[in-house]
């Protein structure tokens, strides 16, 4: 029943996500109909062009959706993050079934009916409108049905590029490894797909010659109403919030990032008159960086170590101030401004159970090194592979475990440590589970790990246009300690509270 509790406590947000999901699917499918049906008609008239068009649509369909979303982020004009790119991807997916079924529907028409039409003196246009399209309609609707159902599914992935929708919950749940949150998004998405399938299936049957007259009449009335509602909804969606200056805040797709995105957004909302758009849950560092570069978002929170290595491809350095300076100048050279660090350093954290730390009086990794020969360790795949991960760590501190470390999903490794299945893991310093599972973070006394100070990164252009933005965000400088961040992560991840509420409470305390 956690699921129902979750829905009730997030109902406003849920309805918003559901509406976004419906609109995404609706607009993409409607566009696919508007373009796919004419293309299908052309394909029946010019078989060679038709074969080429269908081949193109077929290829597009085989591209994994996540890859397509990722690719589009970097494409100018049509790309970027948010609903627009998502619509393009969803449209491309919907195009094939609509086009293919239009072709199949028209080609499948009884030869005699078509010949009778021609022989009676119908022009090509009359034949199309009075005979071919009406007779192909059930097949075309069947194609639309496939397109819409696929669209509902693909739209969940659109959350990776900040288009919102029910996928937000799925991604959030995956990053929290919380099945309740995954289901909170997945169950309504599945129900939506079933509802769309049933509605269009009914439409398809209503259009098939052989339906009774009464049914046709009801059917027409319902179809007309549905189309009218769909148009009104999409028009109002398209028009809403088109006015007013707005600042777009992004975040990556894990809990802490969502909290930090919300933190920037609420801070700006409190301190300025700017309207804020949230593009939270973007699918990773790469997508955030591309979005910021392209102006699809105006600001997000990055970590110095990540920026230095993953974005600017420079070697790591152990000194926090030096890394900050290098990152700030690299961003400045590319039109972005780094504001003051928020205060916490989300570095790798070598974790053991608090009971052991107390019992053996362990404070630092050096303290713990002698015990490792009796311990088992588990690490995430990435940490195990990276040169600056386990290998270097083991060299620096002379770690030697009872057996080779196991590869394990990061969040699972926390549970494995708490349950005693392993004795040491590498997590991140601000993870809420450190508090939730009563774990202890050993100090990196030889300063092996590079610093990962949280820094707000803002487009210089946006800062120039809205100087009040800088003042607002600078209020947060140094105000968020590791402990504060860990607490907020804990509230969201472990206590299942809403990120927006947790941030609001934090800002209330900060302001008072």
């Amino acid at each position: 029943m956690y699921l129902i509790d979750f829905w009730i406590s997030h109902r406003a947000e849920m309805l918003g996500a559901l509406a976004q999901h419906v609109v995404l699917t609706l607009v993409a499918t409607a566009t696919a109909i508007a373009i796919g049906v004419p293309l299908g008609i052309v394909a029946t008239r010019r078989p060679r062009l038709g074969a080429a068009l269908l081949a193109f649509a077929n290829i597009v369909q085989t591209v994994p959706s996540l890859a397509m979303f990722g690719f589009l982020v970097a494409v100018p004009l049509i790309g970027g993050v948010g609903a627009r790119s998502a619509l393009i991807v969803l449209f491309l997916y919907a195009l094939l079934p609509v086009m293919r079924n239009t072709v199949a529907g028209i080609q499948g028409i009884d030869r005699a009916a078509r010949e009778a039409g021609v022989a009676m003196g119908m022009t090509a246009r009359q034949l199309l409108l009075q005979v071919e399209l009406p007779l192909a309609m059930p097949t075309i609707v069947a194609g639309v049905r496939v397109a819409a159902v696929v669209g509902v599914g693909a739209a969940t992935i659109a959350a990776a590029i900040g288009a919102g929708g029910l996928g937000d919950y799925i991604f959030r749940g995956l990053s929290m490894t919380d099945p309740t949150v995954i289901l909170a998004g997945a169950v309504p998405a599945a129900l939506l797909a079933l509802a769309v399938d049933a509605t269009l299936g009914w439409l398809e049957r209503g259009l098939t010659p052989g339906a009774t007259r009464e049914r046709r009449v009801t059917f027409r009335a319902v179809a007309a109403t549905t189309i009218a509602i769909a148009l009104i909804v999409s028009a109002s969606f398209a028009l809403s919030g088109r006015w007013g200056t707005r600042v777009i805040i992004g975040s990556k797709n894990f809990t802490e990032q969502v909290i930090l995105g919300e933190l920037l957004a609420q801070t700006v909302e409190r301190a300025t008159n700017l309207r804020v758009d949230r593009r939270l849950n973007l699918g990773g560092t790469f997508i955030c960086e591309e979005a910021l570069r392209a102006g699809a978002i105006d600001a997000y929170v990055e970590y110095t170590g990540t920026a230095l290595t993953a974005i600017f491809h420079q070697p790591v350095a152990p000194d926090r101030a030096e890394v900050y300076a290098r990152v700030a100048s690299a961003y400045a050279a590319t039109g972005r401004t780094v504001l003051s660090p928020l205060g916490f350093n989300n570095t790798f954290a070598i974790l053991i159970r608090s009971a052991e730390a107390r019992g053996l009086h362990l404070k630092t990794i050096s303290d713990a090194a002698p015990y490792t020969s009796k311990w088992k360790a588990a690490f995430g795949y990435e940490f195990l592979e990276r040169e600056d991960g386990y290998k270097g760590l083991a060299r620096t501190y002379h770690l030697r475990f009872a057996e080779p470390p196991r590869v394990m999903d990061l969040t699972l490794s926390y549970r494995a440590l708490a349950s005693g299945a392993v004795d040491l893991i590498a997590g991140d310093a601000t993870n809420g589970l450190i508090k939730g599972l009563d774990l202890f973070m050993l100090e990196d006394d030889r300063r092996y790990f590079p610093p990962y100070d949280a820094i707000p990164v803002v487009r210089a252009q946006t800062l120039a246009a809205h100087p009040e933005l800088r003042r607002a965000i600078e209020q947060l400088a140094g105000r968020i300690s590791e402990e504060t961040m860990r607490q907020m992560n804990y509230d969201v991840d472990v206590r299942h509270r809403d990120a927006a509420v947790v941030v609001r409470e934090f800002l209330d305390r900060l302001g008072s």
Binding site: R114, A116, V118, P209, G210
Partner: protein
């Protein structure tokens, strides 16, 4: 009455070069029922398709009302020619009334006139307008559908009607009933009819003149009586395939 349809040394070849019709010449007078017989694939349907300009001759001239089909606007020409197919080709998404009214609609008749014409035609082909107008083709029997097909061909009162094996898909009883109906209706409407069939009995039952097509050529063209007496082996071949009774009854007139 003036010649309504005229074939002058008409050849028709497929794009592959295969000759379908070779040097075919004939005329059809207004109000006449010309029935063309021949085996399947002998070019009978091609003759019809040349008349309503679904095809153009490779050589020679096809004239309708004195004008070569090449000079007709194809749309205008086809609206003056009714067309009845074996498969009927009723539009399954339209009611019977709407099916009959297709050409009047295309011609932009006022709704009242269309409705009246529709009722008149359904009555002519023996279907009660009140109970059939609103039905869909799949609710009708094969024979009823063929009646609707015939009504549809006559809707805009075209001077010429082309019929491509119109009764071929019907059972023998329904077929002879439709033959009687056809003669009754033709008595009243007096259209210029070109019909093709491979059923010699049907040809003798309906034709005012009868043409025999063999190997792309018109090997005989005469009244049914004269054809029945002919000695040409290609014609005798068809006659021998006939059930004897209808011929005798027809010839003995």
């Amino acid at each position: 009455m003036a010649a309504s349809i005229e074939f002058e040394r008409v050849h028709y070849r497929l794009s592959s070069g295969v000759a379908v019709l070779e040097d075919v010449s004939f005329t059809v007078e207004g109000g006449e029922v010309l029935v063309l017989v021949g085996r399947s694939g002998v070019g009978k349907t091609t003759v019809l398709r040349l008349i309503n300009r679904l095809l153009l001759p490779s050589a020679g001239t096809v004239r309708v009302e004195g004008r070569p089909t090449t000079e007709w606007d194809p749309i205008a020409l086809r609206r003056r020619i009714g067309y009845v197919l074996q498969e009927v080709g009723l539009f399954p998404h339209m009611t019977i009334g709407r099916n009959v009214a297709v050409v009047p609609h295309l011609e932009g008749w006022p709704p009242d006139r269309i409705r009246a014409r529709c009722a008149e035609l359904l009555e002519l082909v023996g279907l009660d307008p009140a109970s059939y107008e609103g039905r869909y083709p799949h609710e009708l029997s094969g024979g009823q559908r063929q009646r609707v097909g015939f009504a549809r061909a006559l809707a805009a009162d075209p001077p010429v009607v082309l019929m491509d094996e119109p009764f071929g898909a019907l059972d023998p009883l329904t077929r002879s009933e439709m033959h009687r109906e056809f003669r009754r209706i033709q008595e009243r409407v007096r259209k210029t009819v070109v019909m093709v069939t491979h059923d010699m009995g049907e040809a003798f039952a309906l034709a005012t003149r009868l043409g025999v097509l063999a190997e792309g050529r018109l090997v005989a063209l005469d009244t049914p009586e004269a054809i029945a007496r002919a000695g040409d082996p290609r014609i005798r071949m068809f006659l021998e395939a006939l059930p004897p009774v209808p011929v005798v009854s027809r010839v003995s007139h």
